[in-house]
Symmetry: C2
Subunit: 200 residues, 2 copies
Amino acid sequence: MPAPITFYFEFSSPYGHFAAREIEALAARHGRTVDWKPYLMGVVMKQTGMVPLIQVPLKGDYMKRDLQRTAREMGFDFKLPDPFPFLAVAPSRAFYWLHDRDPALANRFARAIYDAAFMEGRDMSRPDAVAEVGAGLGIDKDELRAALKDDAVKERLRIETDKAIESGAFGSPFVMVDGEPFWGFDRFPEIERWLESGGW
Amino acid sequence: MPAPITFYFEFSSPYGHFAAREIEALAARHGRTVDWKPYLMGVVMKQTGMVPLIQVPLKGDYMKRDLQRTAREMGFDFKLPDPFPFLAVAPSRAFYWLHDRDPALANRFARAIYDAAFMEGRDMSRPDAVAEVGAGLGIDKDELRAALKDDAVKERLRIETDKAIESGAFGSPFVMVDGEPFWGFDRFPEIERWLESGGW
């Protein structure tokens, strides 16, 4: 059984949303599974001195156009939530809390958070909104809200963010295939060729 | 006859080099020609507050790996020149000077400059080195060197750079297809689909 591919992403990243829609199918075509790893890009952005793309003159306007164009080709209506980017602490903590109980459910939760943010434009920085998305998957709202304040859960997200950055992740999506890093949703065709050929 | 596609690029950009190797074939597959437009990204980087990717922590290391990986897949040995990035004023001026005399020759010259920089690692900021590359295509060295100091040629590059930025270009490669902007070499498959389908 080949190793899973690792999918690092930030919940506030629309390109992470695109990636989340396709990565399981991509991996499955090559007999791989996917290890989903949300992390907080704010931490890495401090290290690199980056600012969110949407805030960069010229690039920000291009990005808005590019997001709509990419979504049209993928066949869905894209919405940019307001505020954007949003603080992804709540959904990220909820993800790891869930993951320890039911990894498959955590992955479905991640997709649902992304859909709420980038298809419905809902503000996923809000604990109540995150709990509502969880409720749609049968997760108890009060338990989820309590988990967001749990010190062990908070620490878990800090550790996972540090580990992601130590592994080389600095963007979203950032995919690691047998130690080889691929940054960006536009590299998915390259990941496909890499998996197909075993690398070059 | 459909309109040419416009290929904005900066001579110091290795992704521009990748693009220059493929853009004519891509365009030809869809009955298009290519309008080559070198410009100086330093001007736009001041506007956007960007710094060269190679200088950004984490991203710089990834970029070096990505350049080698991309070149291996394309089947050639990539060399990063020293210094990098380099000041592309000399080859950019020479390009527009040549273009007014012989557009096809100017395009071959652009490819030759890119090959000298990113296959041989030669310093293409140097007027003498640029003149040598030109000599390899039968261009008189002294005439080329004189053109680099010509006020009309200098002004021409300033105008072309301003026009590129006004048209929306802020990266390299940056390709415009019937008013639709595409940023980055990794978007070439998307450009191909756009040309194939007429857009979406």
